[in-house]
């Protein structure tokens, strides 16, 4: 860890001020897609940020912004064999005042460094990387949709590129950032999503790394997501253990708003026990709710048995997923061991909690309400 800290300092000293920029030539510029027809992750902007790390060259190299282009990797690169890869998901929002803001980027940087340690990849100085990313977004600022239903998705990625087989820590890595204008994450006509909760599949487990944003947490979920699609369902609700604990939904954290045993409204979400990703939207929802002080809030385990009992007593008011890509996504039903539980999320009230949460977060993100969580990118320069 001593060594990593040193190299982190090296990055701190050299990074943003060393940033080199190579602008795309006119023929490299891509047409911008229709903002009303954006599909998640299909369109990329004109530029990208790259920072190489080579232990043999003293650690982190000069950051470079270049035209968006393919990456050349040795076929033996560890990222291609052993999933030595991790990422983050962030967004830039074009505010009602014309300013482009990013949301709590320091939390993404902290999580990304925790992920890096878990894979034996080098850590870096988050503040400097935020500055470099803001410069990248600034260069591609015309790609930030002029729409409050859309945003520019930011994908920092860190991969191990040592050209050698054998499961071992990397001496060379590449940190890069790409940008995508995005609309809604889910391609759904109805607003509330349907979930498959099948206890035969597990996403993460104690002693594993379900609380890190590693590539290895995602690939194995694809076949289960296909299974859900084949059943006409939209996402997977991941259960864990004999009690069928609710852990995550698709790529989101999960919340339940219900009437507790004392007749009070209560918002619950699974605790950060190592099985779930410590979501930044999750954390923000908990912090906002505590500030409101309008209902009870609890981080605790939720079992499927409890959900079944509560729904049968009409005490579940809402369930929703929360994450950067989807923001807040209401849940309409859960398919579980042959039964379908209907969740009245979008129907029980004209002012559901998920809507209030969504509005509050987007008010901050799009600058409708000034808030320290959303900082204009030009302030980072």
């Amino acid at each position: 860890m001593v060594q990593l800290t040193c190299l982190s300092r090296l990055l701190l000293r050299r990074k943003f001020s060393d940033l080199g920029v190579q602008f795309a030539s006119p023929d490299q510029l891509q047409p911008k897609p229709d903002v009303n027809a954006l599909q998640f992750g299909k369109h990329f902007t004109d530029h990208m940020l790259k920072i190489y790390y080579h232990e043999s060259l003293g650690g982190w190299q000069k950051p470079q912004i270049t035209p968006m282009e393919n990456i050349a990797l040795h076929p033996g690169a560890k990222v291609l064999h052993y999933a030595v890869e991790l990422f983050e998901g962030m967004k830039a929002y074009r505010g009602t005042d014309g300013k482009i803001r990013i949301f709590r980027p320091d939390l993404n940087m902290d999580r990304m460094n925790r992920s890096a340690i878990r894979l034996g990849l080098p850590t870096f100085n988050g503040t400097e990387l935020i500055k470099c990313m803001c410069r990248l977004v600034s260069i591609d600022r015309e790609w930030v949709p002029h729409s409050e239903a859309s945003s520019l998705y930011i994908r920092p990625t860190l991969i191990g590129i040592d050209p050698s087989l054998g499961v071992a820590a990397c001496d060379s890595a590449m940190l890069y950032v790409i940008l995508c204008p995005v609309g809604s994450y889910f391609d759904t006509k109805s607003k509330a999503i349907s979930l498959l909760a099948d206890p035969q599949y597990t996403r993460a487990w104690p002693g594993g790394c379900g609380d890190k944003k590693l590539g290895s947490n995602y690939g194995p979920t694809i076949a289960v997501q296909q299974e859900a699609s084949q059943q006409g369902l939209q996402q997977v609700l991941w259960l864990y253990g004999e009690d069928h604990l609710l852990t995550e939904v698709g790529t989101m954290n999960i919340f339940m708003f219900y009437i507790n045993d004392r007749g009070e409204q209560e918002l619950v979400t699974p605790p950060l026990d190592g099985l779930i990703l410590p979501g930044i939207t999750r954390q923000s929802i908990l912090e906002i709710s505590k500030e409101w002080n309008d209902f009870k809030i609890c981080e605790r385990h939720i079992t499927m048995k409890e959900v079944i009992e509560l729904t049968s007593e009409n005490r579940v008011l809402e369930m929703f997923g929360a994450g950067t890509a989807c923001v807040v996504s209401p849940v309409g039903s859960i398919s579980y061991l042959g039964q379908t539980l209907q969740i009245p999320t979008t129907e029980w009230s004209t002012e559901p909690l998920y809507g209030r949460v969504l509005r509050t977060l987007t008010d901050i993100q799009y600058g409708r309400v000034p808030h320290p969580w959303a900082v204009p990118i030009d302030d980072y320069a």
Copy 2:
């Protein structure tokens, strides 16, 4: 699956006979490393095999052998974000008769296809891929070490290359094969390896995919392997659950040879319960042992409690790991919750079982004993 089967047939029909070869030019040829100084996975041969899959173009494309070269990937390629990647490990051996053989490749192909299904990647016809790989090895045949302590490691790799973010099945994939002359997998002076068994880390779990050869099973192990190295130990013995079941050791299956309650010699190895990789060396050792009929054989769970009791009664004779990369690797000690268990694997007998197993397997692989498991590559053409 219907679609996959069709495409698999497409590959069958087109593949080996369609194989295109682009030979490396003289200036692209690499010097061959000293056979006595081979490090695992550091040296690559002059050529590689590539087969692209594009659903939009009807599935698998023409296989090509090209000079060894970098792979160009879109920075949004799913392999770089979501660990949509899997591989196999095989070897080609230069026999005492000069013929080059591969060992039970059909088993690798079957496992690779099971891995592909688990990640939503396309399956393929294994027989045709074996033919293409044999042609590749034949072209680079001078890279197969002239040594019975070395071999040519074959690494078939399948990655998802769709240039789009979002956790979803791939419409485009790349199957490639690279080759490395290799010596011993472990860089160890003493023959018997030392293991760290720390129950706070888990490799795989029920409902996951520990029984598939996916990249996602390896990246998360690197930090734990670093922990072992810091403690001066060579590999990790992966435990599972409250009973601290032995599952795998490093990248190998594990075997224990001991005196059972009835005073008989017995070889045990954990069962294929979904937590461990169904190793081809493991399967071969079980099959050979059954043929010998010299001792009891059992596939069953082994707990650390049992290992402690048996060692205290001097009833553990040997423990060894088994896998393609290491073949058979004797275990000398296990560090577990503050105690060190000494395992007399290399010391209890002048003719230990692990040595007999190793000799039998290598006799087959190097053609010293004719056997249907080891087929000369020229027979596949």
